[in-house]
Each structure stands twice: as structure tokens, then as C-alpha cells.
């Protein structure tokens, strides 16, 4: 058992037994060695289920939305990306800070479970794509930080290369690329369901009136869906990479989100989401001196 | 404390007493000045008038050498200081400029360390209270006109030093050594730079208004931090006086000379004998040349 896990259990035990919190959200070891699904712990004796390893992918923040009416205080473990999700939900008025005990776990970067499939436990596994360029491995909001912060890596991620590649293409080539990608979409909405920025009570894609999204599963509707989602999370996406990780069809969704985030930074100045609660989302305010292209 | 030291061309010729007094005083104040080896001329006061890149590159070579040694740079000459600051700002401002400069000088220079005027070093690194405690010949009753000229304070966004309209560092240092700085309106007026030499019909008039201003303010002497200003004000004083049928009798000092005097140094060590307007006689009259027994050097 690693030191991290020890520390997690220690704190969880203390919080539960002292009655400070009535529920702890963490990760446990699943049936497969390369999966560490979320676990909800309300009894002290279950604290032993908690673990931290390189497969704790799930962003626990989103689960808090299902617990808004939970009567007691909830402790939740957050990696850097998860902590930004917490801020996302706080800023969107979806959860209440005073009902949370946030435990920060600086994240050393996770492994790619898809690469582990079929391998033996302990085998060499690739790093997870979403962690490759993570700029915020250390939690940005927490009540307790479980261990020392980790250094930020600055390597260039594959997604950046993909964006650069797409940028260098002609419009038709780009269109062809995305056609190929979106044609695969099976409209399972996993991307939306996992996304901390997608926190509407009722998604516009599920509405019959207005009929934003047609029921037919075709390329055009898929394009509508993904572009609309890109605009809805524009300036709000915390770049956790969960959408792309959970996509069963491996559509490179983060290329879109990263590209939009970069455009926004270029146009309106750096405004990475989920870092500062006081900073309003860039499409929710304006500056008189914004770039002017429409004269 | 250790600083790289860039004396510049003037301090080995016309401004030799600035160098002498600086080095003498620095020892007393506990400043370790490391002269940049094989330094070259910074290009003031001509390069920036004719060629932008050259004006940035000449100081950059010196700065690069200091940066290799990992030191902030102390610059006594106001003109050199202005050029160094301009280079520092340009390199900080643009990676592109930096690359061009590095290419031209054939050395790496990232502007990691700060260029400081010697005044800045005295007031903010050494500190006025430190100077005050080391004084053993307070220059009481000496009325000085602090003269800053242009280059220390302008352009302010580059020099980032003192106030562009009402600088006070020399005033503060003078007060610390017991002298009395007078208030006058010519603190930052231009002495004409090369004009008194090159276009004397213009330059000498510029100097005249400064002498007149100091005299009107009741000053006994002028104190400066710029070798060009001093040379102009000192060397041309007699000539300007003759042109205007007067004698100004305003000795011109480097602030380091007066600090050195107050700290108890011998006037000859400080180079006070090297002025055109007779400074020694003046100081003697004022009673500031009586030997001092126990000079306290800072360790």
C-alpha cells in the first residue's frame, strides 16, 4: 500500500469518526487492476476501501451534483483537474462550498487504462493522454492538502500537435478530418455526462421544443451537437480531458476544447477556467477594448 | 556587498576624480566593486543619435560580461547609465531584440540582473542611515545645488529611477552628510551634452542659465552625478562668466567627492584637486579641509 493511500484513509477516518463529514467521495480498487472507480463512503469501517493510484481517473466533482440535497458535509478528494471542476460547479452555483470538505491530492499524472487492457498487473503502461500537458496537477482549491505539491511538466502534448496539424490544413481537409471523426459519434452523450461544465438541469440536446437537435443520428446533427457543446463550454471548460477519455469512439474532443480555450486567451487575454471564482467566464462579460473585427 | 562596476570612458579621463572618489568611498562604505574586465565604451553620447542597434549592442557586451559573473551592475556615469538601462529595457521587452543583440555581440545576455546608478546604490543598497553613521566631518553650512541633468531621470519608464521632475536622491545624500541642499528650478535641466564643445554658441547659453539658477538659489557649489555635466559646468564656467561679465565662483563636485570628504578622506585621494574652478581653496575657506583623526571604515 502506498503512502498516499495511507494518508487518504487516515484523514477520511478522522473526518468521519469526528462527525465532521457524513460522506467521503474517493476512489477504490475495482475488479480490474487498471480501474479505480469512485466510491462513496459513509461508515468508518469502509475507509479501508479508499486508494490512490495511477488509475484514479474519475473526476469526483461531478458526482457532487447528485448529492446537492445530502444533509451533511461531504469530503471529496480532488486532483488538480478535479479541483478546477469544483470551482466550475461553485461558480455555476451548482454546489455549496460550505457543504464540502475538499481534500487536495497533488497528482503525479495517471496511466492510460486502455493501454493496460490485456496486460499483466505491474506491466509498463503508457501515460494517460489527458495528463500529458496538464498545467494544474496541483489542486487550486482545498481545505487540506494531503501531500507535497508536484512540479508542473511543460511538454508539448499530442493534442497541441493535432491542433497545429489541423491549423495548417485547408478548410476542406479540415472538414474532411472532422467529418471522419463525427461520423463515428454514436450520440451516447458520455462526453456531456462526464463534463463538469455541462451541468444544466435539462440539456438542450434532450429538448423536444425547441427542437435544437434532430433525433436522427447523422453527421449534420452530430456536428451541430459538438459545435454547440464547444460553444457552451467555451471559456468554461476546465480542460480535464474527461470527455475525450470516456468517448467510446475516441473522437479527439479535447482538440476542439483546447483550440477554443486558446482562441479565447488570444482574443481576450488569459482566463483559464476554474482557477479564480471571482473571474467571470469570458463569454459572460466583455471589455470595451476587445479586438474589433466586425467594423 | 558585491557589484559589477562599469566606470566608462569618462571616468578614466575627464572624470577621473569621479572614479577616484567612488573607489575610495566604496571601500569605506563596504561596497565591493568588481570592475568589468575589458569593458568597452557604451556608445554614449553618440551611438543612439545615429544607429539604434549599435546603441543597444555596445552596452550589451558589458552587461553580458557582468551577467556571466552573476552581478548587478553599478554605473556612476549618468550617460552610460541611460544607455545601459535602455539596453536592459529593450532586452526585457522583446525576445526578438534580445536575439538580435545576442547575435551582434556574440554573447548571451538575458537581462537577469539590474543596472543601477551609483546614486541608487548609495541610497538604496548602502542606505542613508549607514552613510550618516560613517560621517565624521559633517559638511555643515555647505549650501549645495543638487544637479541631476537629464539622463538619470529621463525617460523615466526606462531609467525607473527617482522622480523625473523633482529627483531627490542627491538631496538626501547631501543632507545625510550634513550639507544643505538648496531648492532650485534647474535640477533636471540639460547641460547641453556635447553642445558646449561642438556648438558653443548654443551650449554656453545653456550652461549660463544653470549657473544663474544656482546662484539665484543661494548655492555655494553644484553637485552632480554625471561626468559630462561636471566637465561642462566646471570647464566652461570661466568662459561663460567672462562672456557675461561675471564670475560665478561655483565649484562643481561629484557627490562621491563630498561624501568622501564627509567620511574623512583626503581631498587629494578623492581627486578634488582636479577641478577647473578651484575647489580646494573653496573647501579650505569653508573649513572642511582640517584633517580628521579617526575615519571609521565599514568592515
Amino acid at each position: 500500500m502506498n503512502q498516499h493511500t495511507v494518508k487518504m484513509r487516515e484523514l477520511a477516518r478522522e473526518l468521519l469518526s469526528s462527525g465532521q463529514v457524513s460522506l467521503v467521495l474517493g476512489w477504490e480498487k475495482g475488479n480490474l487492476w487498471y480501474k479505480s472507480p469512485p466510491v462513496f463512503i459513509s461508515r468508518v469501517e469502509d475507509v479501508e476501501k479508499l486508494i490512490f493510484d495511477e488509475f484514479c481517473h474519475n473526476n469526483l466533482a461531478k458526482y457532487l451534483m447528485d448529492l446537492v440535497h445530502h444533509s451533511g458535509k461531504i469530503a471529496v478528494f480532488v486532483k488538480g483537474c478535479d479541483s478546477r471542476a469544483i470551482n466550475r460547479l461553485l461558480q455555476d452555483n451548482q454546489i455549496k462550498r460550505e457543504k464540502l470538505y475538499i481534500i487536495g491530492v497533488p497528482c503525479p499524472g495517471l496511466k492510460d487504462p486502455d493501454d493496460a487492457v490485456g496486460k499483466k498487473q505491474g506491466a509498463e503502461v503508457k501515460n494517460s493522454a489527458k495528463c500529458a500537458t496538464c498545467s494544474y496537477p496541483n489542486p487550486v482549491v482545498y481545505d487540506a492538502l494531503l501531500w507535497e505539491t508536484v512540479p508542473v511538466n511543460t511538454t508539448k502534448a499530442p493534442v497541441e500537435e493535432l491542433i497545429a496539424k489541423l491549423d495548417s490544413m485547408t478548410p476542406d481537409e479540415r472538414y474532411a478530418y472532422w467529418t471522419e471523426q463525427f461520423s463515428r459519434c454514436i450520440r451516447c452523450f458520455a462526453c456531456r455526462n462526464v463534463c463538469p461544465a455541462c451541468n444544466c438541469r435539462e440539456c438542450c440536446f434532450d429538448q423536444a421544443e425547441p427542437d435544437w437537435l434532430g433525433k436522427a443520428n447523422n453527421l449534420s446533427e452530430n456536428q451541430f451537437m459538438q459545435m454547440t457543446r464547444a460553444m457552451h463550454v467555451a471559456g468554461r471548460c476546465i480542460e480535464c480531458g474527461e470527455c475525450e477519455r470516456v468517448c467510446p469512439m475516441n473522437i479527439p474532443l479535447m482538440a476542439i476544447n483546447k483550440k477554443v480555450a486558446r482562441d479565447i486567451a488570444e482574443l481576450f487575454g488569459e482566463c483559464a477556467a476554474g482557477l479564480d471564482l471571482e473571474k467571470r467566464p469570458p463569454l459572460g462579460h466583455f471589455d470595451l477594448n476587445d479586438p474589433e473585427k466586425f467594423m | 556587498m558585491k557589484l559589477a562596476y562599469y566606470p566608462g570612458c569618462s571616468l578614466s579621463t575627464t572624470g577621473i576624480e569621479y572614479n577616484m572618489s567612488t573607489l575610495a568611498v566604496a571601500r569605506t562604505l563596504g561596497l565591493d566593486l568588481w570592475e568589468i574586465p575589458e569593458w568597452n565604451c557604451c556608445g554614449a553620447s553618440s551611438a543612439h543619435l545615429t544607429n539604434h542597434l549599435l546603441a543597444l549592442a555596445l552596452p550589451a557586451r558589458n552587461l553580458a560580461i557582468a551577467e556571466e559573473a552573476g552581478l548587478d551592475v553599478a554605473v556612476p556615469c549618468a550617460a552610460c547609465f541611460a544607455r545601459f538601462k535602455a539596453t536592459e529595457a529593450a532586452v526585457k521587452d522583446s525576445a526578438e531584440t534580445r536575439a538580435t543583440i545576442e547575435e551582434v555581440i556574440g554573447r548571451k545576455y538575458e537581462a537577469k540582473y539590474t543596472v543601477k546608478s551609483l546614486l541608487d546604490v548609495f541610497v538604496n543598497t548602502v542606505g542613508l542611515s549607514q552613510i550618516k553613521t560613517l560621517v565624521n566631518r559633517p559638511l555643515e553650512g555647505l549650501k549645495v545645488a543638487p544637479y541631476y541633468g537629464c539622463l538619470l531621470v529621463r525617460p523615466h519608464k526606462i531609467t525607473q529611477f527617482d522622480d523625473p521632475e523633482d529627483p531627490v536622491t542627491i538631496d538626501q545624500i547631501m543632507s545625510a552628510i550634513g550639507a544643505e541642499p538648496v531648492y532650485w528650478g534647474y535640477k533636471t535641466e540639460c547641460c547641453g551634452a556635447a553642445h558646449p564643445t561642438v556648438v558653443p554658441e548654443v551650449g554656453l547659453k545653456m550652461l549660463k542659465s544653470i549657473y544663474q539658477g544656482a546662484r539665484d538659489a543661494g548655492a555655494d557649489c553644484i553637485v552632480t552625478a554625471c561626468p559630462l555635466c561636471l566637465t561642462n559646468l566646471d570647464m566652461r564656467q570661466k568662459e561663460v562668466g567672462e562672456q557675461n561679465n561675471t564670475q560665478y565662483n561655483l565649484p562643481v563636485f561629484y557627490f562621491t567627492e563630498l561624501v568622501g570628504l564627509a567620511l574623512g578622506h583626503d581631498p587629494h585621494t578623492l581627486g578634488i584637486d582636479k577641478h577647473f574652478v578651484d575647489a580646494l581653496a573653496f573647501l579650505k575657506n569653508k573649513g572642511f579641509l582640517n584633517p580628521v583623526q579617526n575615519r571609521r571604515d565599514s568592515e
Binding site: - | 551611438a47 549592442a57 537629464c150 535641466e189
Partner: protein, 201 residues
């Protein structure tokens, strides 16, 4: 100062604005690019001139130079003594309410005037050239040599002769040029700047 009636007449001649105004915009744009300052912003308040320590000797005041440029009369500005007399003390730029920087403008105009052979005061130009020649040659400035050479070349060999011996006696002027041991590096800098066309923005 105007010497005779002839000069008065020429000086006061009516200017036809039409050709100049056609040039005003490109002139403004090129100055913005080369000097980093925008003459179009000037509203002719005269604060630059009011504080200029050299204005008394100029043929056009700094404000008037800007006005000439606003009207597209750049040739006139290039031929003026003003641009050579500016001591670059930056008082004007520091106080300008419209953030125009006349001192930078003068620098740019000098460079252009020189390129076009329109140097109105040869002495200042000569001085700058000599200065840089010395730096290139020796790495440092030899001030005695500079002044002597300047006086010689500006045809006033005895101008500062009165000061020379005084300086010499006071140990202020080294009779021999001082230099840095290996000046190859400084010479390289000059060479590379020339190779880059002299402009390094």
C-alpha cells in the same frame, strides 16, 4: 535670426499646402513605424518647446517641427537645424500631454537627413561620427583625441586649446589613446550592425 530682407521674404513665403497634405498620411505612418511616435496626435500646445533647453537656438521650435510633419512638409523639417540642435534630454517627451515623443522624432529625422545628405549643422554630425570611429578603433573613447580631431576637422583647431594643457596637467587627459586589449569583439559588433543594415528594431 534673419539677416536681410531677402531672407525675410523667402522665409515668409506662402506655402501651398496641397502637395504636402497628400504626403501627410504616409509621412505620419512612416514616422510611427520608424520613430515609434505619432505626430498626428499632437495638438500643438507647445509644452515641448516651453521646456526645451535648446529651443532658443533652433530655427524651428520642436512644436513647429511636428507641425511641419503634420502638414506633410518633411523636407523642411529635415533641412532644419533644430533636429541637430536637439540635445536628446527628453524633457519634451516626458511632459507631452499627448504622449508624442519629439526627442525620438528628432533622432529619426537626423538619421534620415543624414541618409539624404541634408545635414544642416555639420559640426554635430561630425562629432558623432568621430566618436564612433574611436570606439570602433579602440573600444573606448579617447576624449582628448576626439576633441582635437573634431576641432581640426571642423576647422577651428585652436578652439579649446586653452583647456587642453589644464586638463593634461590635472591628469584628466591621457595623451595616448587607451584601449582594451583585444578590441576584436567591439569591431565585430560594428561589423555585424553594418551587415544588418544598421537598423535593429
Amino acid at each position: 535670426m534673419l539677416k536681410n530682407l531677402e531672407e525675410v521674404r523667402v522665409f515668409m513665403e506662402r506655402i501651398n499646402l496641397t502637395p504636402g497634405l497628400a504626403q501627410a498620411k504616409p509621412i505620419r505612418d512612416s514616422l510611427k513605424e520608424h520613430c515609434g511616435t505619432d505626430v498626428g496626435r499632437c495638438y500643438q500646445c507647445g509644452k515641448c518647446t516651453a521646456g526645451c533647453p535648446v529651443a532658443f537656438a533652433m530655427d524651428y521650435t520642436p512644436r513647429e517641427i511636428v507641425r511641419l510633419l503634420q502638414l506633410g512638409l518633411k523636407e523642411e523639417a529635415l533641412k532644419s537645424k533644430t533636429i541637430w540642435l536637439c540635445a536628446t534630454c527628453d524633457t519634451c517627451s516626458t511632459r507631452c500631454p499627448r504622449e508624442v515623443e519629439p526627442a525620438k522624432l528628432m533622432e529619426g529625422l537626423r538619421q534620415e537627413a543624414k541618409a539624404k545628405g541634408l545635414v544642416a549643422d555639420k559640426r554635430l554630425d561630425l562629432f558623432n561620427d568621430l566618436f564612433l570611429q574611436l570606439v570602433e578603433k579602440y573600444g573606448r573613447v579617447h576624449e582628448m583625441g576626439l576633441i582635437l580631431k573634431f576641432n581640426l576637422l571642423s576647422a577651428q583647431p585652436l578652439k579649446d586649446a586653452g583647456h587642453g594643457p589644464g586638463m593634461f596637467l590635472k591628469g584628466k587627459i591621457n595623451p595616448l589613446p587607451h584601449t582594451i586589449k583585444d578590441n576584436g569583439e567591439v569591431k565585430q559588433i560594428f561589423a555585424r550592425v553594418r551587415a544588418l543594415g544598421g537598423e535593429g528594431k
